[in-house]
Amino acid sequence: MGDVLKLVELTQTEIDNLSDQGGLYMNSTTGNLSVDGGDIAGGGDMLESTYDPNSVQDDAFDYANFLGTFQVKGPSTTINMTSDIDNLDVDGYNLVYLTAGSSDRRITGIKAPPTGVNRVICFFNNDSSRRKKFIGNSGSSLADNRIVLRGNSTSRNFDDYQLTFAVYNHSINKWFLTRIA
């Protein structure tokens, strides 16, 4: 006769008592798999921390579980603009709160992300009376850090209590802003 593959149901104690534990087992109580009597630790993509990093632990095909609450991830920072800013460096921050105590201020450029990084930054003007201005294609900032404004404008007001998203365009290596004034 040829080899026979026979499936039998064993308890963990029965597995432990086998003299030769070579084989693949499934614990009938826990459903856990084990090889040669030892648990499979799992790894790579099968780690829960990888496939469910937010510990949703629910139906992955349910839209709400899949998308969750929309969030701009990452830490925030507040920048008090005591002067105009060229090549604004907010690496590591996706939420940027801008303040300026005594005067309207200008931003002429934002540090560009590395190639392949589709960077999005959310800017808030947290002042109740001080406007900011984003300056288009300004020579005061490095070429790749410059901002292209709607209509190729050289200046757009970022009014008090306004919000804008800055998105880097790797096609022309410039920042774009969602519409402001």
Partner: protein
């Protein structure tokens, strides 16, 4: 008066003379830049107009002026207001200068408005 200049990196400068390394923008880009500039001036004018409206209304509420005085002011300065609202600051500069004082558009108010228009023209034309 300012015009648009560009350098080899594509930077745009709005200056009264070409900065070092810059040359005058030409063609459709120049057209688009001027369109955008007029749009900026109009938006700034609308904001200034709105701020003035709010200020006048508050002056009625706090008793500085009567509503009749403010209505007369708005009527008397309507041409000036229209020009500012449309972003024609340069034209408004002359209009304000030529407009005689009347009512609450007195010497102080005229000087205040003139100074703000002059400042805008200096920085944006």
């Amino acid at each position: 008066m300012r015009n648009f200049y560009t350098d080899i990196t594509g930077a745009i400068a709005f200056e009264s003379a070409a900065p070092s390394g810059y040359s005058l923008v030409t063609g459709s880009l120049l057209d688009n830049l001027w369109i955008a500039k007029y749009e900026e001036r109009r938006e700034d004018g609308q904001r200034y107009y709105t701020e003035t409206q709010a200020s006048l209304y508050l002056s009625i509420l706090n008793g500085t002026y009567t509503s009749t005085e403010v209505f007369d002011f708005e009527s008397y300065t309507s041409q000036l207001a229209d020009q500012i609202f449309k972003g024609d600051w340069y034209t408004a500069q002359t209009t304000c200068s030529d407009l005689p004082t009347s009512g609450i558009f007195d010497t102080a108010k005229k000087a205040e408005i003139q100074a703000e228009i002059d400042d805008y023209v200096t920085n944006n034309y």
